[in-house]
């Protein structure tokens, strides 16, 4: 029993370290992915609770590799479930099922700069996987391999995904510029 308690205490302290190290990354991901602080907080909380349950196994299987992609994978799955749940709820109003654009204002983030606001608005119009890849790359500074692990794709598929996401965003932003 004392051996179990010792191992558990050790695991708890390692988890606390993981948590401190990645809290900001996870929150940034959640905020840009979900689009509002309230749901982002819930997503981060749920992610860490689920990560805690599987931490020992993840450590064993990670083979010394960083656990950030694993944490983001959990957040990615929870976010997908969040949207599935929202879209299936029969009582969901039309307003609630509007795209993310309605959920948070970009003014706070871009300090009134039109070009940045257009990029963020364009980002919200991309498909989920493309948007997520761009958030991981540009908000969290993850490389292709990390993003691939977080999204459960190959490195090659991730490279293509990011390339297409940037191209699509370019054209969305260009259309927005032409339109006014």
């Amino acid at each position: 029993m004392s051996e179990i308690a010792k191992t558990k205490a050790q695991l708890d302290s390692e988890f606390a370290e993981l948590y401190r190290e990645h809290m900001r990354d996870l929150y940034s991901y959640a905020y840009y992915r979900i689009g509002n602080h309230h749901d982002a907080e819930d997503l981060v909380e749920q992610t860490f609770l689920q990560a805690y349950r599987h931490f020992e196994r993840a450590q064993r299987e990670s083979d010394g590799r960083p656990l950030r992609p694993w944490l983001l994978r959990i957040a990615h799955n929870l976010a997908a479930n969040h949207y599935r749940y929202r879209s299936r709820r029969p009582q969901t109003s039309l307003e609630e099922s509007e795209p993310l654009a309605a959920l948070h204002s970009t003014e706070d983030l871009v300090d009134g700069r039109d070009e940045l606001a257009r990029v963020l608005e364009g980002l919200k119009r991309l498909p989920d996987d493309r948007r997520e890849a761009l958030i991981m790359r540009f908000a969290l500074g993850m490389d292709n391999r990390e993003i691939a692990r977080a999204l459960g794709r190959t490195d090659g598929a991730t490279k293509v995904l990011i390339h297409r996401a940037i191209k699509q965003l370019e054209s969305v932003v260009a259309i927005a510029e032409d339109g006014g």
Binding site: M1, I4, A5, K8, D12, F15, Y19, M23, R24, D25, Y27, S28, Y31, Y32, H37, E41, V44, E45, F48, L49, Y52, L109, V110, E115, L116, V119, L120, L123, L134, I135, R137, F138, A139, L140, I166, K167, L169, E170, V173, A174, E177
Partner: protein, 101 residues
């Protein structure tokens, strides 16, 4: 706006890291702490509760029997060794071919 490089640099600027609200860290920590405590309590109470169920006595009983058998085997082995030692000493005292009587 022109080119991917421009979009990329704008993205880097627009997607600046967002600090979590200060109370989120303490909330998550206390949730994790309560889960951790609960798990430890659960484990202890599970062990106690498990021993109240006769179906869970089989394994300790087997272990006890196994331990008992191993112990008995050890005693027999020691006795055998002692006996062999005595026999050796006896044979040293009376060389082959000499009648003790």
């Amino acid at each position: 706006m022109s080119g991917s490089a421009n979009v990329e640099s704008l993205l880097r600027e627009a997607l600046s890291p967002v600090d979590p609200p200060p109370d989120l860290a303490s909330r998550v920590t206390s949730r994790l702490q309560s889960i951790s405590d609960y798990a430890a309590d659960e484990l202890e109470s599970w062990e106690l509760a498990a021993m109240r169920d006769p179906r869970n006595w089989l394994r300790p009983a087997i272990a006890l029997l196994g331990g008992g058998a191993a112990g008995a085997g050890l005693v027999l082995l020691r006795a055998h060794q002692r006996h062999a030692k005595h026999a050796d000493r006896g044979s040293e005292a009376t060389p082959p071919g000499v009648d003790e009587s």
